[in-house]
C-alpha cells in the first residue's frame, strides 16, 4: 500500500494510539503522554513510519483543538464566567501579563527585536488547555482548588488569544508585505489597520450570527427529527466557522470558541456537546500524536544544550510566576504545586500563533523551528513533571507532612472515620458531630482541609487509599468507615483496601448511580447510598402534596418506594452477576427502568396500608345486611 494513502496513515496512527495509550495509562502517565510517545515513535525521526505528511496530519488534527474549544465554549455558561470573574481576570490576567513581560524581556536581552520579543512573550505565556484539562480530569482534580484555578487561567488565556491575533499584524516588521506566506490570504494584502478591522469584524459576525442565524437554523434542523442530520449540522457549523476564520486569516479555534460561548445558553447545548465530543476526542488524540511526530530530533541533537536550557528555563519561569500568583491568591502549598506544575508548559495555540507570526514576518524560520521543538518538548514533559510532583514532591512538601499538628491530633481513636468531606461527607459528619459522635475526617483537598481546620474541625489531609494513612487515622480501632468521595474509582479502591486490611470495619459508601452501586454490591458492600435518591424522593413527596395528596400518605408512599427500589437494586445486582452480561450504560439503564416500572405495577406490596382502609370492612358489614349488586345489574338511582 502506498505510504501516502489515507488507509495507510490511519492504520499507523490508530495502531500507535491503541498500543501506546493503554500502556501509558497502565504506567500511570496519562493518555496525553501516551499519544505524544506514540507520535515520537512513528515520527520521521525515529521509526519514520510517517514522514513529512505528519505536518499535514497536524493541520488536520488541529481541528481537534478547534472542536475542543467549541466544546469548552459550550460548557461556559455566562453565569459560571461571572462567578469566576475574579479568578479569571486576576489570576489569569496577571499570569499572562507577568509571564509575557518576563519572557519578552529575556528575549529582548538575548538580542531579539522588540516586536519579536513581545510576540514571543505573548505566545509562550499560554498553556495547553488540551493537556492540562485532560490530565486534571484523569487525576480527578478538576473540582479541587488547583483544578478550578487552572481552569480560570486557561480560560483567560483562551480569551487572550483574540487580542493577540489582532495585535500581531501591528507588530509585523515592514518587510512583511514581501513574505509570500502572508499574501496567501486576501487579508494579508490589506494594510495593517484594515487587517485589525477585519479581524474584529469576523469576531462580531460570529457573535451576532450565533445569536440570530444559528439558533433558528438548528431549530429548523431539529424539527426533521433525524439524529444524524443534527450531527452533520453540528460538524458543518464548526467547519464553516473554521473556514471563515482561515479565510480572514484568524485562528479557527477562536472562532469556534466564540460560537460555543454564544450557543452556551441555547437549548441545543447538550446535544451539540454530545455530537461533537467523539470527533473531538479522536482528533485531539491525533493532534497529540502529530505534536509528538513533529518534534524535530535533528534540531535537538544538533543543539541539545540550547534546547534543553530553553525548555527548562521556560518551564521554570512559567512555574515560578504561577507559584507566586498562587501564593498571592492564598492557594495552599500542595494545591499550588499542582497548579504551578500543570500550567508550566506552552499550549497548542503556540503552533497556530507561530505560523501566524511567521506569516507576518515577525519571526524567521530558524527561530520558529527551534521554538516549535521547545514548545512540543514542554508539552511532552508536562505529564512527566506532574507525575513527579505527585509521587515525589507532594509526599514531602505537601500539607500532610509539613503540618506539625497532624502527628499529635491523629492520635485520637474515634469510632467513625469519614473519608471524603465535600458537600456529601460534611453533612454526614455534621450530623454525627451534633450528636456527640467522634469522627476522624480525611480529605484530599488541602485547601478545604485548611479552611475546615480554621473552623475548628479536626480534618486531616491525605489520600485515604493509602494503607499507612488509614492506620494512622485509627482504622484499627474504629467501628465504621464512611466512604464519601465523589469519584467512584476512589471509593471502590478504598472499599477494597478496607476489606483487605481492616475487615472489622463496617463500610458505608456513597455512590452516584446504579452502575456504581452494582459494582459495590458485587464487592460485598451492604450499605450503599445513592446520593440523589432521598432528595429526589423528598421532591416527589412535595410534588404529590402539591397535587392534593395528603402528606402522611405521600411520605409513606415514598418510604415504600425507597425500600422497594433498594430491594430491586440488590436483586438486579445478583442477576447481573449471574448472567455476566455486559450492557452498555444506556442499554442497561433502559432495561432497568423497564424492569422497575413493571415491578411497580405487579408488586402488591405497594398496597399496604389496608389497616387504615375500611373498604374490606365496609364490604363485610354491607354483605351481612344486603347482597352487593352484581356488576352487570343496572344501578338504582339514589
Amino acid at each position: 500500500m502506498h505510504h501516502d494513502s489515507f488507509f495507510y496513515l490511519a492504520l499507523v496512527y490508530l495502531t500507535a494510539a491503541v498500543i501506546a495509550v493503554p500502556i501509558a495509562k497502565r504506567l500511570g502517565l496519562g493518555s496525553v503522554l501516551g499519544y505524544l510517545m506514540a507520535g515520537m515513535l512513528i515520527g520521521p525521526h525515529l521509526l519514520g513510519l510517517i514522514g513529512e505528511e505528519g505536518q499535514d496530519v497536524m493541520h488536520f488534527a488541529e481541528f481537534g483543538v478547534v472542536m475542543m474549544l467549541f466544546v469548552i465554549g459550550l460548557e461556559l455558561e455566562p453565569s459560571l464566567l461571572w462567578r469566576m470573574r475574579s479568578a479569571i481576570l486576576g489570576l489569569g490576567g496577571l499570569q499572562v501579563a507577568g509571564t509575557a513581560i518576563i519572557i519578552g524581556g529575556l528575549a529582548f536581552l538575548a538580542g531579539l527585536s522588540w516586536q519579536a520579543s513581545a510576540a514571543l512573550g505573548m505566545i509562550l505565556s499560554l498553556s495547553s488547555t488540551a493537556i492540562v484539562l485532560q490530565t486534571l480530569n484523569e487525576k480527578g482534580l478538576m473540582k479541587t482548588t488547583s483544578g478550578q484555578s487552572s481552569f480560570a487561567v486557561l480560560l483567560f488565556q483562551d480569551i487572550a488569544v483574540i487580542p493577540m491575533l489582532a495585535i500581531f499584524p501591528l507588530l509585523a516588521i515592514q518587510t512583511a508585505g514581501t513574505d509570500s506566506a502572508s499574501s496567501q490570504t486576501w487579508v494579508g494584502s490589506l494594510p495593517a489597520w484594515l487587517q485589525t478591522v477585519v479581524v474584529l469584524g469576523a469576531v462580531g459576525l460570529i457573535i451576532i450570527g450565533g445569536r440570530f442565524i444559528i439558533r433558528p437554523a438548528f431549530r429548523f434542523i431539529a424539527q426533521t427529527r433525524l439524529l444524524e442530520l443534527f450531527t452533520a449540522a453540528a460538524l458543518l457549523l464548526v467547519i464553516a466557522i473554521a473556514v471563515l476564520m482561515t479565510t480572514v486569516g484568524l485562528s479557527p479555534a477562536l472562532g469556534t470558541f466564540l460560537a460555543g460561548v454564544v450557543l452556551a445558553n441555547s437549548e441545543y447545548r447538550h446535544e451539540l456537546i454530545s455530537d461533537i465530543e467523539p470527533f473531538k476526542g479522536l482528533l485531539l488524540g491525533l493532534f497529540f500524536i502529530s505534536v509528538g511526530a513533529s518534534i524535530n530530533f535533528t534540531l535537538i541533537v544538533e543543539n541539545p544544550g540550547t534546547i534543553l536550557i530553553l525548555v527548562l528555563g521556560l518551564m521554570v519561569v512559567k512555574g515560578l510566576v504561577l507559584f507566586v500568583l498562587g501564593k498571592v491568591y492564598k492557594i495552599g502549598t500542595d494545591q499550588n504545586l499542582i497548579f504551578s506544575f500543570s500550567l508550566s508548559q506552552v499550549g497548542e495555540f503556540a503552533f497556530v500563533l507561530f505560523s501566524f507570526a511567521l506569516q507576518n514576518g515577525i519571526f524567521d524560520a530558524e527561530l520558529t523551528g527551534k521554538m516549535v521543538a521547545v514548545v512540543a518538548l514542554s508539552m511532552a514533559m508536562t505529564p512527566l513533571i506532574m507525575t513527579f510532583n505527585e509521587k515525589v514532591l507532594l509526599p514531602r512538601f505537601g500539607t500532610e507532612k509539613t503540618n506539625d499538628r497532624e502527628a499529635d491530633e491523629i492520635q485520637e481513636d474515634n469510632p467513625v472515620i469519614i473519608a471524603g468531606f465535600d458537600r456529601f461527607g460534611n453533612t454526614v459528619g455534621r450530623l454525627l458531630k451534633a450528636n456527640g459522635i467522634g469522627t476522624t475526617v480525611l480529605d484530599n483537598d488541602s485547601d478545604r482541609v485548611d479552611t475546615l481546620r480554621k473552623l475548628g474541625l479536626k480534618v486531616y489531609y491525605g489520600d485515604a487509599t493509602r494503607h499507612e494513612l488509614l492506620h494512622a487515622a485509627g482504622a484499627g480501632k474504629a467501628k465504621l468507615i464512611i466512604i464519601a468521595y465523589e469519584e467512584s474509582e476512589k471509593n471502590e479502591n478504598l472499599v477494597h483496601l478496607v476489606k483487605k486490611h481492616f475487615p472489622h470495619l463496617q463500610i458505608l459508601v456513597r455512590t452516584s448511580d446504579r452502575t456504581e452501586s452494582y459494582r459495590l454490591i458485587e464487592q460485598g458492600v451492604d450499605h450503599v447510598y445513592r446520593e440523589t435518591l432521598d432528595t429526589a424522593l423528598r421532591m416527589g413527596v412535595d410534588a404529590m402534596r402539591m397535587l392534593g395528596i395528603r402528606g402522611f400518605h405521600a411520605q409513606r408512599a415514598a418510604n415504600m418506594f425507597r425500600k422497594h427500589d433498594e430491594k430491586v437494586l440488590k436483586n438486579l445486582s445478583a442477576v447481573r452477576k449471574d448472567k455476566k452480561v455486559y450492557f452498555s450504560m444506556a442499554k442497561s439503564a433502559i432495561a432497568e427502568l423497564e424492569e422497575l416500572i413493571q415491578a411497580d405495577m405487579t408488586d402488591t406490596d405497594l398496597e399496604r396500608d389496608a389497616g387504615w382502609d375500611s373498604d374490606s370492612l365496609r364490604e363485610e358489614v354491607l354483605a351481612r345486611f344486603q347482597p352487593l349488586p352484581k356488576p352487570d345489574e343496572p344501578k338504582a338511582t339514589s
Binding site: 409513606r556 415504600m560 399496604r608 389496608a610 389497616g611 387504615w612 374490606s616 370492612l617 363485610e620
Partner: protein
C-alpha cells in the same frame, strides 16, 4: 413448648433505667423472640407481612411498653392498626390468631396506689387496658393478666431486682411450660399470681 414473641416498644430506651434492666436477661432465654419495635421501625414504617409471619410462628404475644398517657407509646398503636388487619386477624374470615395469648408488661412511674378509684389516676390498670383486652378478644386471642411494674420513679435497685426476676420467671416459665397460661387467668394481675405462688 409455647413459643414466645416479645414486642418491646420504648421510644427513649437509652434513658430508661428500669427497662434497660428489665430486658437485659430476657433476650437470652431460649425459645423467645425479642423484637425492639422502635429500633426496627424508626420511621414507623411497620413491615406488615414480616410482623404477621412472626405472629404465626409464636403462641404467646407479649407487648412490653411503658405506660404513657394511660396507654401505650404510639408505635404500638401503629403496629396494631396495620398488622391486625381485617380478614386476617379479625372479621368473618380473619382467624389467623385464634387460640394465641396476649400478655402486656407495663411500667408506670405512678405507684399502684394511685391506680384506684380513690387514687389520682381514678381507674385501675385493668380498666385502662380495656381497649387492648377487647382487641385481643376481637382477634380470638386470650388476654392474660398484665404484669404491671409500678412506682418506677421511686423504685430502689432491690425492688427493681424483684420485678426483673419475676419478669424472667414469667417468660422462662411460659416458655418451658412450668407456668401454663391457665395458671394466670384466674388472677387480675400477674403480680397476684406470683404473690400467691411465692406466699406458699
Amino acid at each position: 413448648m409455647p413459643r414466645i414473641l416479645i414486642l418491646f416498644a420504648h421510644p427513649r430506651l437509652e434513658k430508661s433505667r428500669i427497662n434497660i434492666q428489665l430486658i437485659k436477661d430476657i433476650t437470652t432465654i431460649p425459645g423467645v423472640t425479642f423484637r425492639d419495635l422502635y429500633e426496627e421501625y424508626p420511621d414507623f414504617d411497620v413491615d406488615i407481612k414480616a410482623e404477621q409471619q412472626l405472629l404465626l410462628e409464636h403462641d404467646v404475644i407479649v407487648f412490653h411498653h411503658p405506660f404513657y398517657w394511660y396507654s401505650a407509646p404510639p408505635l404500638i398503636k401503629q403496629w396494631i392498626d396495620l398488622v391486625l388487619a381485617h380478614g386476617w386477624a379479625y372479621g368473618s374470615a380473619g382467624r389467623m390468631l385464634e387460640g394465641k395469648f396476649w400478655l402486656q408488661i407495663i411500667t408506670s412511674g405512678g405507684p399502684e396506689s394511685s391506680y384506684q378509684a380513690t387514687g389520682g389516676a381514678r381507674f385501675t390498670i385493668r380498666e385502662y387496658l380495656i381497649p387492648f383486652e377487647q382487641t385481643a378478644r376481637l382477634c380470638k386471642m386470650t388476654f392474660l393478666p398484665p404484669l404491671a411494674i409500678q412506682g418506677t420513679h421511686r423504685m430502689t435497685s432491690e425492688e427493681l431486682g424483684i420485678h426483673s426476676r419475676r419478669y424472667q420467671k414469667l417468660i422462662s416459665g411460659l416458655s418451658d411450660g412450668s407456668i401454663r397460661p391457665e395458671d394466670l387467668t384466674p388472677f387480675s394481675y400477674t403480680k397476684d399470681y406470683f404473690e400467691s405462688v411465692e406466699g406458699k
